[in-house]
């Protein structure tokens, strides 16, 4: 959530290591922090405090600063500065990027470090160096940002009343949850080392669904829903990397907050529709607004300063998530749209804003989350998936959600395989017990039928859900009458977590799947067991800063491949397909969401191993992450990435199991790769090498496609 930097300046280098607790200067770069964290108690007497906020008048500050902040500032005889860097940045065309403005303000306030004019000079030189390549306009924009500080910085005279006032904004309330208060909050406050070990579960497990308590409020801009332009496609919800924009369905005429504006739900009779954002969970990546088709060229989502929506939409969100679930099983609707009416059981992860990986994980939980068991490889997905002290995996209204664990980077496939084997063994034993119970219940028609129905449906996802419910009911209805069924009933109930067919997911990045975990992955796929593997393919080891993997294509610059990768991207999908009994798909949601959903459903339904490789843009690619979905589409359109499904079930029907889902490329391949810094930078540093490698990498993609076509054409 929050990053704190401690800077120290001296005439000679400062060697000793300590954190600062009597600072000359403190800056708060995000207005939302002021009601979240204690920002000022480490300020020294007479020190300066800089606040980036839209509240530049004393009147606004009276309302928006909490009493405790006012008290401390007044008692410490602090100098208070305010600047509305967000608005300035927006005006200058810098969108959310406020750092240059705030850096200039820093030097303006702290002339003891160096004269401000000298600082401005140095900052401009640096800006030139960094942005000259991007053209004069960008350089000028940064010069303007530097200059803007002097014009817009406001010093506020602190009224005497602040020393004792009890008025002001309320600090954000801690969630009313014991685990949050007793464990998470202390850790977030960097006081985790004071917790006794008894605060934790002895087996190392932690409660799920705890990210929702954080209410980080880190976004500078959040999407505002413009009802009139919304076509109710749910695409924004589908792509949101942080699961914080969701469609809400309210029964017509139901009581709702005044601000909870809705429109009649298309295709769902008796319901009103609204697209609801959670401003406090939103990362402000803008991906939702970017994909929003809107109406007649007008977007239904518009990025808007956080402060404007915070209070109102936070309340709406709380109302929306408490709405009863609507049964849409009988409603005819495209899968992509429908999937979004099911709550995401993966929410508010701390992935980078706009991350290309997380939307895939989210969708999988929407489809299968209530019976999902996940083995997660080390990598970004284990970090955003399990970053202590909170857990982004959560449960639905029935209390069902994914169980998740991470073992090692290298053994993840085996880890998930073992989970699957363990359940399989437990369920086989349970099956024997249920069969015995059916016999014991010879005289209890309904019970016997429930047993038999479960045995008949135990390996079918939906079937087992229904049958499990009936069997549990039958068992629970059974009185401890002393008959021979009693003991069996108890044993069956003791293992009732096994009744519903589980959905095993083995998740990891390309570093795991193509390289370090590949030996195990291959072995597990070859085993023929019913597990599903989701590869989040960023084409580099993302979490450790972008090392090349066997997924990295020729010409891409990565760590260990600083002058461009020299050998072809490995074709993991085709390798897995050589087995013939492994379901394989390659997807890119930004290009074809329906193909993704189809592949996920086919894979999960297939009673054997499945491998789904998903293209995931990443900050390591050097692209504007707001457009990560468009980047996926462009990758497919130009032939950089292909969509396909290899379904062994088709072979059983005598059909060609391989289906190439993407169309013949039409886009400009070279333009596509040059739009990403990982490629473009090679052209700058080694143009001749780049030309050579870029030709080769395009050639390699073409060859790959030709191979797919040859496969697809097989009788």
């Amino acid at each position: 959530g929050i990053t704190v930097s401690h800077l120290r300046f001296g005439k000679t280098p400062i060697q000793s290591e300590y954190l600062i607790d009597a600072a000359d200067f403190i800056a708060c770069h995000n207005p939302s922090y002021i009601i979240r964290y204690d920002m000022v108690s480490d300020l020294k007497d007479g020190g300066s405090f800089l606040l980036n906020a839209p509240w530049t008048s004393i009147e606004e500050l009276e309302v928006n600063l909490p009493a405790k902040v006012k008290n401390t500032l007044a008692k410490k005889h602090a100098k208070l500065y305010v600047i509305d860097a967000i608005s300035i940045a927006a005006k200058l065309g810098l969108r959310g990027r406020t750092n240059t403005i705030l850096q200039s303000a820093f030097f303006l306030i702290n002339e003891q470090i160096m004269p401000y004019t000298e600082a401005v000079d140095l900052m401009k030189k640096m800006a030139y160096k960094s942005f000259a390549r991007k053209g004069d306009a960008v350089v000028q924009m940064n010069y303007n940002a530097i200059d803007s500080a002097k014009e817009h910085l406001v010093q506020i005279d602190i009224p005497e009343s602040w020393a004792t006032t009890t008025e002001g904004a309320e600090m954000i309330k801690l969630a009313d949850n014991d685990y949050f208060k007793n464990v998470i909050a202390p850790i977030l406050a960097l006081e985790g080392d004071k917790l006794p070990s008894s605060a934790f579960n002895a087996d190392g497990s932690v409660p799920t669904g705890t990210t929702k308590f954080e209410k980080r409020g880190v976004a500078v801009m959040v999407p505002k829903w413009v009802k009139e332009n919304c076509v109710q496609c749910n695409q924004c919800s589908f792509v949101c990397p942080h699961a914080c924009i969701r469609p809400a369905l309210v029964a017509e005429g139901a009581a709702k907050p005044a601000d909870f504006d809705t429109k009649p739900a298309t295709g769902i009779k008796g319901y009103e529709f609204r697209m609801q954002v959670s401003p406090l969970d939103c990362m402000g990546c803008g991906v939702c607004a970017e994909v929003c088709p809107g109406m007649k060229g007008n977007k239904a989502l518009v990025m808007t300063p956080f402060a404007e929506l915070e209070v109102k939409e936070a309340a709406n969100w709380e109302y929306a998530v408490d709405l009863p679930e609507v049964d849409l099983s009988e409603v005819k609707m495209a899968d992509v749209k429908k999937s979004q009416f099911t709550p995401s059981l993966f929410e508010f992860s701390g992935a980078c804003a706009g991350c290309g990986e997380t939307p895939y994980v989210k969708v999988v939980t929407q489809l299968f989350g209530d019976r999902m068991i996940i083995a997660n490889a080390t990598g970004c997905s284990s970090i955003y998936g399990g970053s202590s002290p909170t857990c982004p995996y959560t449960v639905n209204k029935q209390g069902h959600g994914p169980a998740w664990a991470n073992s090692l980077f290298e053994d993840n496939a085996e880890f998930g395989y073992g989970m699957n084997l363990a359940y399989k063994a437990r369920r086989e034993t349970l099956k024997e017990k249920v069969a015995k119970l059916a016999e014991a219940w010879a005289g209890y028609e309904e019970g016997k039928a429930a047993c038999e129905a479960w045995i008949g449906n135990m390996n079918d996802a939906e079937g087992s859900k229904k049958a499990a419910a009936a069997l549990i009911k039958a068992c629970e209805g059974c009185k401890d009458c002393g008959c021979e069924a009693d003991a069996l009933v108890k044993e069956v109930l003791a293992d009732k977590d096994c009744l519903v067919k589980k959905s095993f997911w083995i998740i990891g990045g390309d570093g795991w799947a193509y390289d370090i975990g590949y030996g195990g992955l291959d072995h597990v796929l070859a085993s023929g067991e019913d597990v599903n593997v989701l590869v989040l393919d960023t084409e580099v080891y993302s979490n450790t800063g972008g090392q090349a993997s066997k997924s990295t294509p020729i010409g891409a610059v990565a760590k260990f491949a600083s002058s461009g990768k020299r050998v072809k991207k490995k074709d993991l999908g085709m390798i897995a397909a050589t087995y013939g009994y492994v379901y394989v798909a390659q997807c890119a949601m930004g290009s074809d969401k329906a193909q993704l959903v189809k592949a996920l459903k086919e894979a999960e339904a297939y009673h054997g191993p499945s491998l789904i490789i998903c293209y995931a843009p990443c900050i390591n690619h050097g692209i504007n992450m707001t457009k990560s979905q468009a980047e996926e589409k462009a990758a497919v359109d130009c032939g950089y990435w292909q969509l396909f499904r290899y379904n062994p079930e088709l072979a059983k029907e005598g059909k060609n199991p391989f289906v190439l889902d993407s169309k013949d490329p039409t886009g400009d391949y070279q333009a596509f790769i040059l739009g990403e810094t990982r490629y473009a930078s090679l052209k700058k540093t080694q143009p001749a090498v780049a030309e050579e490698l870029f030709k080769e990498t395009e050639e390699a993609s073409k060859e790959r496609l030709a191979g797919y076509k040859h496969l697809a054409a097989r009788e």
Copy 2:
């Protein structure tokens, strides 16, 4: 080489652990051991000694027993028994199998254990149990063997003269080699624990070429060359798993032993040809005689009792291996035949008699052994390749031969890859030095030319050999005159082992390549480096007793797959071919030796990674190992195994890189698998399962072939 069993009998179980040194009874089952090992000194006074030998008269024994054996037997008042079990077995149709006869003789001599009639009864019951499935004739044959002991066992009265005689057969001479005498011989005599650590090299390296000192003489029957029937095809030499039958070329008119019979060498003017066996190194597997085409239905190799050939042919062998090498570079001759005129640099390994793996290793050393560096995975190939105290890898007349090492089962590909990188780095440095030397030698025309020639040819196998020789000569011719070249010359000579291009071989079994070492193998193949991988595919983990690997086909019985493997054999070759820049071949020498040699040469010449997968019958398959070559042919003929080559060089020329070398199958697939116990046993234990799985496995082979054909047909 030798197996010693210590048996103890008592009325109550004997728990204490010790070896016997005062035996009531000792048997020597192999006549050749009598001049090799001290067979009788552990006999107690008055004990019985049974010798299996063709010498059943006192006259023959006088000649064939060493004096020391006679002395000991006489002094110990031993009872001496002789039986010619080899001849009896041959007459009864049991070929080399003498164990039943000798077991019966054992009970006949040792009636203190149980009455002989009772023993005969029990042995017959056991024979019935073991062989009833194979039919009445086999049972009867074994009954006859049991009964034969009584008729043929001869007791010899030991003459008094033996107590003091100094006459008799000479004990085999220890090789005149210090390492053998000081290290190998004590270890073979089970006295290795008495050696000081100073007897070994500090770096753990051991001398190569030491198996030839062992002269094990373990074969019961060895091949006798019948000159008239020999067509000089060299196939016997090609397939010999132990490298102990080789063609010899003698210049016409050269002096040679009287017994060294020859015939004019076909296609090589001025030379005489002879196929020479080494009886003391031969394992008696009979593979050579089995593959020998002979002439007009008459074999040119006939399996003959060891004793008949031992002395004569051992002498001939010593003469043959000392013959000068004949330069055949200008002679036009099929590669398969020609390869056998180059000495095998892998010889007399202790692999099982008839092993399907070793002939592949042998041929590779004949093609590239003089510049080979081998990384060997753990498995049979690391055991027969490096079983202390001797080493089967050896050197040619120029002193060049493979360097060999084994690291771990799982890291072998990386191990070989690292060797390659190390050499590459050293050679790059050397190249810079040679370039500088060329400059320093500006005035020394010949020297400068040698430098330049080497730089131009350093990555070409034959070119670098020639250029290296010239450069070394130039360097060695250089006087330490004090000019600036002096230091460079010394540095170049110090690294002269790098001058010839090395041939890197990464060798292992299918357990390594398909399973445990696969993650690393994939990574190394993907690296694009110039290494060659040889997979000896026995379709099980052979060395540890036959566990199933991902190479094991559906339906085969193996450990961990005791009711038949359920999932398909992994297609390792096709997986590697997905890279496009890996040379891949699948071979079976028994089916097509020329294809094997072609693949090996193409793979080695390819400046990138190569993978050659070779089908290798193994004792774990439950076949008659004498026919292991025929089994390979049958496997290809019936479509069980395919031969192909995938050569990336062809793609560069715009051709289809994939060539299917094997023809459409014509053989009977089911008959083929039923000929191997690993399949046949399933049919016995679970006929219904077998039927199902055998259908599936045939289907899987057909699908595989169909896929290959689709690939081969690509434009």
